[in-house]
Symmetry: C2
């Protein structure tokens, strides 16, 4: 893949790794970096994460083909508006924030058809560009949240870029994304932090008693305390969904408490048993054998939202789009969308989902 | 170490591993096993975990030097009474249950000076004697809960046996043990189960959405759903401490909820920051460099409870007693207790703790 200039705004662990992967795996010859910290920029250049240090988002975005916003979550709305304003009509702007609805809601009258939210589900315990590595995204799920007005050609480009970085792009509705992340990432971080803090303050025999903690405590608290500013910001950026998840958890915990209190062994057996089944399903999904890729071709009407709708429907159905190609039709006419998915079952389901939504679709 | 007959009551993963380690590491030539499941006994004999299958606890305990109760927690009180009644005046009876106050409270007028509760902090994801292995206890903390009336010579024997099995014996007050385990083991299991159940029932995009769960969710739920009957029993056996831990956790979680709701970034920074500090302390403790053993000799008055008191004081102070030797004095007179601990600092602290309690004590 040959790629014009790209910009990375914020060169920490994530932005630095992005720069390395864009240069090393996606063939970007010019990676422009922006960061308020001159030392981060210096290191980023030294390790080859960026080829140019820009003075501002505007300078980095001008003439870029893609802008990746890898800054702290609270800064994303402003950075997105500035990057959209400063970049050309053919530039896709995306971010890597852990919550998606907020930044989309804050775009206002910016040219939002060029913004597609993103979220690579990966990271490292240690932050900063010195720990950046281009393999960071290898095999990771990378959520994309194209809205109906997102430009299909820009979605195609971003999808291809994400795949080139080694990640698995998954289109998802921003609201579904935020509720899912609240449940499987933000809530776990809250639980881990609350547990380690409770243990540190109330463990009988003093804090040092924790030395005798077994593997379950170590597992449960592994993510506790990582990067306080990042996590404070994420919890607040995804406030509504995080509150819903915490409240749901508190209700579930109160049920366990009540069962223990009344000595209800049957209920507790069911509780642990259901968890065993859920864990087994998770494992089965993770261990699923790889299958041969299969192709699906959808006739794409010349109207906004079609590609986003199809990609998101497949994302929600957990159909992995390995590759995606747009073939424009005659001006004003139908184009074609070719999708490569994981195996026959997925292709059959993709055909069903597209047909159900009124598209002409076939196996290829 | 040469060892007379020992009995293992319950030959699952734990009892089977005990049998293998007693024979393979502690030099037991006769390991008697008891189990209601004849197939478990057959496998235990086939893999060498036991040398004799006994028909009853009474048969196994008669003439044994030590009886290890490795049965489900609810059965322990009755088994302890039966083993104490059937065994000779020189036999130590212990258990490996995850909660300690209940079994001690249920001993009644049994010869409790021969019972010393135990709890090896280890296990495996898979249960049953077929997964038994003699290395199971290697490096594990093995809590011992000697009460004041526990016989010093039997405590010495059990301490030595546990060390011979490869574990690190740590004396602890039974109540402290139960509250500590509620916090660092039982509560984590409850949290993991509640989280995986919540995710399985409420994840947007359906259960399969969990495939996209990141590493924090995987970490948090690793212990979920393991062995429903075992865990239902543990939660009920340690009911009071588990309820206290759940309630403390619910309070902490409500604090996080309130901070997220009012958008209190400072509070959240403190919350995650404290967790980071607590985690760092845990790691520092785990990574502490090994030190040279040091010896302490305590003059042991001829009264019950002295050894239990000293061992428990050291256990609570996290001073690892690597070896322990009793040298009886003249009839009715003072004996000597020689302790090997981890390094000079620990020895100094052990001297202070013993002196503080009125014992004559010196470095050796």
């Amino acid at each position: 893949m040959s790629l014009g200039p790209v910009a990375v705004v914020g060169v920490g662990l994530m932005g630095g790794s992005l720069g390395l992967a864009l240069a090393g795996r996606a063939g970007a010859r010019e990676v422009r970096g922006v960061d308020p910290d001159p030392e981060a920029l210096r290191v980023a250049r030294a390790v080859g994460a960026i080829s140019h240090a820009a003075e501002s988002v505007e300078e980095a975005a001008a003439g870029a083909e893609a802008v990746f916003l890898a800054a702290p979550v609270p800064l994303l709305p402003d950075l997105a508006r500035r990057a959209l304003a400063a970049s050309g009509p053919d530039c896709v702007v995306t971010d890597v924030g852990s919550a998606k609805t907020g930044v989309l809601a804050a775009l206002g009258d910016a040219p939002r058809e060029r913004f597609i939210g993103g979220h690579p589900v990966c990271g490292g315990e240690r932050t900063g560009v010195v720990f950046a590595r281009q393999e960071l995204f290898q095999g990771a799920t990378w959520f994309l949240t194209p809205e109906p007005d997102a430009r299909p050609d820009l979605f195609e480009r971003l999808h291809g870029l994400v795949a080139a970085l080694g990640a698995r792009p998954v289109a998802i509705d921003p609201d579904v994304h935020d509720r899912l992340m609240a449940l499987v990432s933000h809530l776990p971080h809250v639980l881990a932090g609350a547990l380690v803090n409770q243990a540190a303050t109330t463990a009988p025999g003093g804090r040092e008693a924790l030395r005798s903690a077994g593997p379950s405590f170590v597992d449960l608290t592994r993510v506790a305390g990582s990067n306080p500013p990042l996590w404070a910001d994420i919890l607040l950026a995804n406030r509504a969904a995080v509150l819903e998840a915490i409240r749901g958890f508190a209700t579930g915990l109160a049920d366990v408490e009540a069962a223990v209190e009344r000595g209800d062994r049957e209920w507790l057996l069911g509780f642990v048993g259901r968890a065993a089944e859920a864990r087994a399903r998770l494992r089965a999904a993770a261990d699923a054998a790889p299958v041969a890729p299969a192709r699906v071709v959808v006739a794409l009407p010349n109207r906004p939202g079609a590609l986003s709708e199809i990609a998101t429907a497949l994302g929600h159905a957990h159909i992995n789009i390995e590759d995606l190609q747009l073939r424009p039709g005659p001006p004003g006419g139908e184009g074609e969308l070719e999708l490569v998915v994981d195996g026959d079952d997925a292709a059959r389901e993709a055909v069903r989902l597209a047909a159900e939504r009124g598209y002409r679709v076939r196996r290829a």
